[in-house]
C-alpha cells in the first residue's frame, strides 16, 4: 500500500468519526408551535410565566410513556396553582437519534394569580 493511500485511510478513520459525532445526538425537529388565546387580557407584569414539560422516549418504535402530553398539561396546571393561565404556547418537538428518539411537549403560559 502506498503512503498516500495510507494517509487517505487514516484520514477516513480519524475524520469520519469526528464528523459523525459532531452531527449525532443534536438533531431536532420542531413539529408545531401553537399559541392559545390571550383571555383574560393581561400584561406580562401582572403574572409570571409558568412551564409544563414532559417527554416520551421511543426506541425501535416502542414507546414507554404514552401520557406525556397529559403530564406536560398537568405540570403546567400545577405550576399555576389556582390561578388563571393565558397566552399558552405549546411546542411539540422531537430529538432525533440512532433507532430511538425523544418526543417532547413544552407548554408555557402567563399565570395570573388570584389576588
Amino acid at each position: 500500500m502506498r503512503i498516500s493511500d495510507r494517509i487517505n485511510k487514516l484520514r477516513l478513520f480519524i475524520f469520519m468519526p469526528i464528523l459523525v459525532l459532531s452531527f449525532v445526538g443534536c438533531a431536532h425537529s420542531v413539529h408545531q408551535a401553537h399559541v392559545s388565546d390571550f383571555e383574560p387580557y393581561a400584561p406580562i407584569e401582572s403574572g409570571e410565566i409558568v412551564k409544563g414539560y414532559a417527554e416520551q422516549f421511543v426506541i425501535f418504535g416502542f414507546v414507554g410513556q404514552t401520557d406525556y402530553v397529559n403530564q406536560a398539561y398537568a405540570n403546567l396546571m400545577q405550576a399555576c396553582g389556582d390561578g388563571r393561565i393565558t397566552g399558552i404556547t405549546t411546542q411539540m418537538s422531537t430529538s432525533l437519534g440512532f433507532f430511538s428518539w425523544t418526543n417532547k411537549a413544552l407548554m408555557q403560559g402567563l399565570c395570573i394569580s388570584k389576588q
Binding site: 477516513l12 420542531v30 413539529h31 408551535a33 383571555e39 387580557y41 411546542q91 430529538s95 428518539w101 394569580s113
Partner: protein
C-alpha cells in the same frame, strides 16, 4: 479558461443542475392554527408578525449530491451522510435542526410586541423554506394588538382599560 473549456462547462448537465438547484427554493406549509378573533370597534387593531427560524440541514440531500459528483471523495461523503442520517431517526417536520430552542421564547416575543397583552386574531404557522441541502425551519405568528386611540396617540403600548390580571375582557 479558453472558449472550448467554457463551452464544455456551459453544456454539462452537472453545471446546469447546480445552477437549477442553487436558484430554486420553495415554501412548504406544515401547520396553521387560528385563535379567537376580537375585532370589536372599541379599540384599534395593530397587526404584528413574529418569525423565529433555524437552519435545517438534510443529510440525505448532502449524500445524494455528493454521490452525483461520481468521485471517490463524493462517494465517501455520501456514505458519511448516510451514516449521519442513521443517527437522525424519528418523526420529522421539515429538515432536522441543531437547536430545538429557537421557538421557546415565543411567549416573550408576543408580550414584547404587545406589552398590554391585548392580543387577538393569532395565527400560528409552522413552515419550511426549502433550498438545496439546507432549509429555513420557521415558526411564524401573526396577530393583532388591541390598542385604544389614546394609547396610539401617546405612542405607548398601554391602553386605557387597565389590565391588572384580575379583569376579563374590557
Amino acid at each position: 479558461m479558453n472558449l472550448k473549456a467554457f463551452f464544455l462547462t456551459a453544456v454539462s448537465p452537472l453545471f446546469w443542475s447546480v445552477i437549477l438547484l442553487g436558484t430554486s427554493g420553495c415554501a412548504v406549509l406544515h401547520k396553521v392554527q387560528l385563535g379567537q378573533i376580537d375585532a370589536r370597534d372599541d379599540q384599534k387593531l395593530i397587526p404584528f408578525e413574529i418569525m423565529m427560524s433555524e437552519t435545517g440541514v438534510s443529510a440525505e440531500e448532502i449524500g445524494a449530491i455528493a454521490r452525483a459528483a461520481q468521485t471517490n471523495g463524493g462517494d465517501n461523503a455520501g456514505n458519511l451522510a448516510t451514516i449521519i442520517a442513521l443517527f437522525q431517526m424519528g418523526p420529522q417536520t421539515g429538515n432536522p435542526v441543531y437547536s430545538e430552542r429557537y421557538a421557546e421564547k415565543l411567549i416573550y416575543a408576543l408580550y414584547e410586541k404587545c406589552p398590554t397583552g391585548r392580543i387577538t386574531g393569532l395565527m400560528s404557522i409552522r413552515e419550511t423554506r426549502k433550498y438545496p441541502v439546507i432549509s429555513g425551519e420557521i415558526v411564524k405568528v401573526t396577530g393583532f394588538c388591541r390598542k385604544t386611540a389614546k394609547s396610539l396617540n401617546e405612542g405607548t403600548g398601554e391602553s386605557t382599560g387597565k389590565s391588572n390580571g384580575k379583569n376579563g375582557d374590557t
